[in-house]
Amino acid sequence: MKGDYKQVIKLNNIHKKFGDLHVLKGIDEEINKGEVLAIIGPSGSGKSTLLRCINFLEPPCDGDVHFEGKLITKDSKILNSYRQQIGMVFQQFNLFPNKTVLENITMAPILLKKYSTEEANEIGLALLERIGLSDKKNEFPSKLSGGQKQRVAIARALAMRPKAMLFDEPTSALDPEMVGEVLELMKSLANEDVTMIVVTHEMGFAREVADRVLFMDEGAVVESGSPKEIFTCASHPRTIDFLSKIL
């Protein structure tokens, strides 16, 4: 079906250490265009660190990140232009409290893509319409619920028209009744073939939406495969053990 994947991000032997702690022990992965990759695993397995290594919020200690075939380095020009094409959504939303909802979304396009305020507002209002928060455009983030904040955070990342989106446990900080609205939005993005890498504890989402599921433990990829392969016939004992605990 999606056989003609074009590679977007390629990770080559990624290592990350915090002091003596070896958090990532050589990760090799490829993420293709339009693919939805779900990363699951126990806490401390390194899945969030891996995600943060992809956009260099945590620069890898060793190994390469390639974006559309180009090597990404710490050089600020290369890095900033790369980050502009990779959106990120955080567990704690990290909306800018000193900006209104609309400004949160339009700031990056205005500053980085040199859009006029009118052009950026047009994009911003369209995104707000899409996430169903047009009436909140002039509110400050503090006036929003958790689910609304996360939807705005997703819109903020989308406003840069990124080629891939990284989600770092986007629903973990939400009250249970607000998880659905965020997952719903993410699902609709997946259906539009947005390339997504999602670190998540939502097994239902991983099973239903992901094209591929990656199970990590102790800084390494233990197993990866289609949701069906992982959730119904995992082969590795650690995967089986983890899934038996949470499903």
Binding site: N55, L57, S76, L79, N80, S81, Y82, R83, Q84, Q85, I86, G87, M88, F90, Q92, N94, L95, F96, P97, N98, K99, M107, A108, L111, L112, F140, P141, S142, R156, A157, M160, L166
Partner: protein
């Protein structure tokens, strides 16, 4: 108590107050600029800048303003008293303001830096649009306090003969042989200045609370 001297000498109070205000105002501006520069140096990744700024702040905060004032006044020969007062006060307050600003920047949530980075913004954009506006809001009470301290401490420049409020009050005390009453007037004027300033800061704080 007799305040009859006010009729003859009220002009001394006015000119003294205006000198005190001018001195404080210029010092606030220069102190703020110096404080921003010092705090950015201290937060930079370059060890040398960190150390220079750290040593400066430690030395200034560890020595009396009176000594600093004398060092500036007698060290830089042939400079006008007013300039000496401004320089000494600015050197002094910039060290305190630097620490206030640094604390304010460090109090901004780490996630805010990460969000700007993840969007591909440069450090300068992040500071201007996101970090400093939030830091400014954090530090406003402390900054207001520092400015109030500055107005009060400025009385010290009277020792080098700068005709600020305190100096003029001393003059009146000498001329009129009334050592006490002029001091009450001085206290009242200082109090009015600081009270107005602190009210003003209260208003700004409440305005900035709009986004909470």
């Amino acid at each position: 108590m007799d305040f009859g001297f006010l009729v003859d000498y009220y002009k001394f109070f006015i000119s003294g107050t205006s000198n005190t205000l001018m001195l404080s105002f210029i010092t606030v501006i220069l102190g703020l600029i110096g404080g921003i520069v010092l705090s950015i140096m201290k937060l930079s990744k370059f060890k040398i800048l960190q150390n220079i700024s750290g040593a400066y702040i430690a030395f200034i905060r560890g020595t009396p303003l009176l000594v600093q004032l004398y060092i500036v006044y007698y060290g830089l020969k042939d400079i006008p008293m007013f300039v000496a007062g401004v320089i000494a006060m600015s050197i002094n307050s910039s060290a305190y303001i630097a620490e206030i600003i640094r604390a304010g920047i460090m109090a901004v949530d780490k996630g805010q830096f990460e969000a700007t980075k993840s969007l591909g913004m440069t450090g300068a954009m992040a500071y201007k649009e996101v970090i400093l506006p939030q830091a400014f809001k954090n530090i406003l009470p402390a900054l207001g306090n520092e400015f109030i301290v500055l107005i009060k401490e400025s009385a010290i420049v009277s020792v080098i003969g700068l005709h600020d409020l305190m100096y003029n009050v001393d003059t009146i005390r000498g001329i009129t042989y009334k050592p006490f009453e002029p001091l009450l007037v001085a206290a009242l004027i200082y109090f009015i200045l600081t009270a107005v300033l602190s009210k003003g800061f209260g208003v700004i704080e409440r305005r900035l609370q709009a986004s909470d």
